[in-house]
Amino acid sequence: MTAESVGRLLPFRRGDAAWNMALDQALLESVDRTARQDGRAAATLRFYGWKTATLSLGYFQSSEPLPPTFRNVAQVRRSTGGGAILHHHELTYSLTYPIQARDSGARMELYRGVHAAIAQVLAERSISARPHRLDSRLGGDADAFLCFQRRTDEDLIVSGYKVLGSAQRRMRQAVLQHGSLLLRVSRHAPELPGLFELTSIDLDVEKLSEQIARQLGQTLGIRFAADGETEQERTSALQIVADRFASDRWWNRH
């Protein structure tokens, strides 16, 4: 990648569960299609929040039995892996990135790159967040229902608590990575403190997302320029809402 690469930035907006997931899927399909047609495609970085508290399940995670505490929040199944997430007071990002068809499995360099950029932005706010791999003796439960009670190498940890986790979905020539940065505790998951509870620092999502976009741009060698989704992506996302993320069939698939 050259230093002149230009990427697309979709600034912070709140959406409902099905829309949030559907737009990420539409962006993935769009970047994959462009990469396959043209041999290259612009990376797309998006920031978003959740209109109401939402439980998202990992793609392969079973929807039964659902812990009772989550039965009265909005629900959606993600297309990405990992465990369940209670999205409430968080900053969510997605990065859709062109890859080679021959690249296999999880793109670890993207986990590392995005998390390092976010750790750098937090460090500038005097918050020390470190990847779990540096302190891996501080376990986590691999089988926990909630993703934030599990640990993988690149998760960011503050004072022993996971504050950032990400997951991926691949297509032939693009990968979607999205992740959640916990800003404050949710009453629906009181066992998971956010950055405010851990540091007493109150972060503004819009300023934070702008800083992350700049830092991530430096990390990846991409200048992210603010834009919106295309009309085609928007139309596609609306169809994906109906076909997938708002459907009972999708929710009950595992």
Partner: protein
């Protein structure tokens, strides 16, 4: 008899293909290479297609999850799924140990051989893997 990986064909996306004749039909047995399994690193889930499903060459026929990443599996040939290795998703460690025999994933009755032309022999596939690091 154990399958010889140097005699198989390979897709760019790391599926291996063993073409055989059964009852006058060409059958493609498909799995994923040891290189891909190593790259996938800690495979935790696999979804298989249903017997009877038809696929075109290049279509997805299944999905796997590793390190919170969901990745599709692509069929190198077009045809009908005639058998799936249904024990495999519950025994993924066996895929790591024996990707070319125990690790077969599906058998497809080939109806469109055009996909075979784009596959690599073992030497070409090894070269691709070496370039991928």
């Amino acid at each position: 008899m154990a399958r010889d990986k140097s005699k198989l064909l390979y897709a760019e996306t790391h599926e291996w293909v063993d073409v055989s004749e059964e009852g006058g039909q060409k059958i493609a047995t498909i799995g994923i290479s040891d290189f891909a399994i190593e790259q996938l690193n800690d495979l935790v889930y696999m979804d298989l297609p249903e017997v009877g499903k038809t696929v075109d060459a290049g279509d997805e026929f299944g999905e796997v999850e590793s390190v919170k990443a969901v990745s599709p599996l692509y069929s190198p040939v077009g045809g009908e799924v005639v058998e799936v290795h249904s024990d495999l998703p519950d025994n993924l460690e066996g895929l790591n140990d024996d990707p070319y025999d125990f690790g077969w994933i599906v058998k497809i009755k080939i109806e469109d051989e055009s996909g075979l032309e784009s596959l690599m022999d073992f030497a070409a596939y090894q070269k691709q893997c070496a370039e991928s690091g």
